[in-house]
Assembly symmetry: C2
Homo-oligomer: 343 residues x 2
């Protein structure tokens, strides 16, 4: 007679899901504020929106994203303490460019088989990142999906919801030829281009210090996605008007900068005007990667690009000289991006 | 000399992501309402929250979920037209039990390699389901993650955000011994238990009509997750007070019903009082699955369980006799669930 089948024999372990829930409860609750009516244990997260009632024209701003195969870097190094920062910062930046501040976040972790120790560390890092940006971790889901994920691999997905006053939405309107492009630098690859980077670097030693990088390959690849909430907030509080912001993620400057360029404008970037983390030149050299392809795949040191009129740009540069770079200008054109000094 | 590396050679195809974006644009926009300020092409989705301003104490209600390995059923049958309904309905029900109505939705699709024809059909089904429940598909993400997903497999994740007036939140308070349990039936497995179902049924013919099921195995397994928004709304509009609602998902009645039971109460269900879709008895018989395990893994025909006082339950049953079932009672107890006639 065939043995009795069960969910556990089929690869899904409800007891492990429950163990994870118990172990992450403290970290998740540490992100709560008085707005949270229900979270852990409920069918959905409940968040009081009184603050929206006090706004003139509140607009909810939401984005879903993952961290790509940076997960495989974390897995190779066994380091899960920062991947949550990557996820949360990516999402925070995606709503920040529209002018929104975060309200709450939800995460999703799936694997062929959930390893409680890994899942707990990942959720703890998500919660820590949420706390740091003042965002509630309102909900989440873990899923065991044998046959869909490769053994030992996992995916991590996040959704952020924020809010902005309608008249403060930044949509690039008002951008015109003569405006300046300023950049806040990235810390490295952030969360894009890892499949290419790993392919080029996979056979090297990731643990030893490399003079060229000032770090090991592992450290350079794992450098967390930077959060631009504070620097942008400081510029705004100084009364500096930012006409448009582009978060340089998948597709690089060529795909992300045009998203905020109005018809009749184009952007010129001067390569050399901003620091390029050395991990990029290592990848380019070892992989014989075309320079244009590098800029299509990676942020190349450009974390966020801001567009301001020249006078506002001068004031911004004077205020934050150590972290702002004047990287280019708006010209007349067809919403394209040109890089001087590309080859 | 080694060949030049590129993102495409590393398994990530930006042109395919762009092709998908172009092909889904119409379906996504078909869900838009006047509240949408920005969606496709922006870094995040922007949704005017004027309706919240008009509320006394608006509470945002959010949930993230997947559809589990029902995806592998869709893949085996090559049928992607309903998987979006599964995803959206699961999420709608999760906020509905708290009393919330949906505002907007975001989706995430990831695979080792994105197949545009499949992704387009999946997003079209998500958009169709959103339209049907009056929910905007505000954002989404597609990701190619070679080495994380098994070749040919994909994951599908959704996040819903809805809203409820604070005084109308349903949290189970007021539930007391003597209250009645009514159920709205499920259509089948909904989105839980597929790893076990597939393991038990994998070697059978999924295409041929089976008298026992009144359908093929494939049809029975793919039956879409039911949406309970309309039946619950109708009961509310008739002035029938529902004290608590439980959506029976992963973990079955044993894990989901206690979520809304106040201390000092327990639930007794009378097996036989509601219809069990025949797919469950087929799985139980062929897999020699323990009856208790069946109720821990599957919804067993119980889509949503409502708790009402006996008089309200009578009125509800008189109003919707064809789709409501009186399945049990609240008794004094320790927040546990008992099933009479389990074995």
């Amino acid at each position: 007679m065939k043995p009795a089948e069960s969910y556990a024999r089929a690869g899904v372990h409800l007891d492990i899901a429950q163990e994870i829930l118990n172990r992450i409860a403290g970290a998740v609750r540490s992100t709560y504020r008085s707005e949270v009516i229900a979270g852990l244990g409920a069918f959905a997260g409940l968040y009081r929106a009184d603050a929206l009632k006090a706004m003139a024209e509140p607009v909810l701003v939401a984005s879903t994203d993952g961290v790509g195969t940076k997960l495989k870097v974390a897995a190779r190094l066994g380091r899960w303490e920062t991947i949550g920062y990557d996820l949360v910062h990516h999402c925070v930046n995606d709503i920040l460019v529209h002018g929104a501040r975060p309200l709450f976040f939800l995460d999703y972790i799936a694997a062929a088989r959930l390893e409680p120790d890994v899942v707990v560390r990942v959720v703890e890092s998500v919660a820590a990142a949420c706390r740091a940006v003042g965002c509630v971790l309102l909900g989440g889901e873990t899923a065991e999906m044998p046959g869909i994920y490769m053994p030992g691999e996992l995916d991590l997905v996040g959704t952020i919801v924020g809010v902005v006053e309608r008249h403060r939405i930044r949509d690039g309107r008002g951008i015109q030829p003569g405006d300046s492009l300023l950049a806040l630098p990235s810390s490295g690859l952030h969360t894009n281009g890892y499949s290419l980077a790993r392919k080029v670097l996979e056979d090297l030693d990731w643990e030893s210090f490399m003079l060229e990088l000032g770090a090991s390959i592992g450290e350079a690849l794992l450098a967390p996605h930077r959060c631009y909430l504070e620097p942008i907030r400081m510029l705004e509080e100084a009364g500096i008007e930012i006409k448009g912001l582009a978060h340089i993620t998948g597709g690089g400057v060529f795909e992300n900068l045009p998203r905020i360029l109005p018809p009749g404008t184009a952007a010129v970037l001067h390569r050399g005007a901003w620091p390029e983390p050395p991990i990029f030149s290592l990848i380019q050299r070892l992989g014989h990667v075309d320079a244009g392809e590098m800029f299509r795949v990676f942020n190349m040191g450009l974390g966020i690009i801001m567009i301001l009129d020249p006078e506002a740009a001068e004031r911004a540069l004077a205020l934050r000289p150590e972290e702002l770079f004047h990287v280019g200008e708006i010209v007349a054109g067809d919403r394209s991006v040109h890089i001087q000094g590309l080859t």
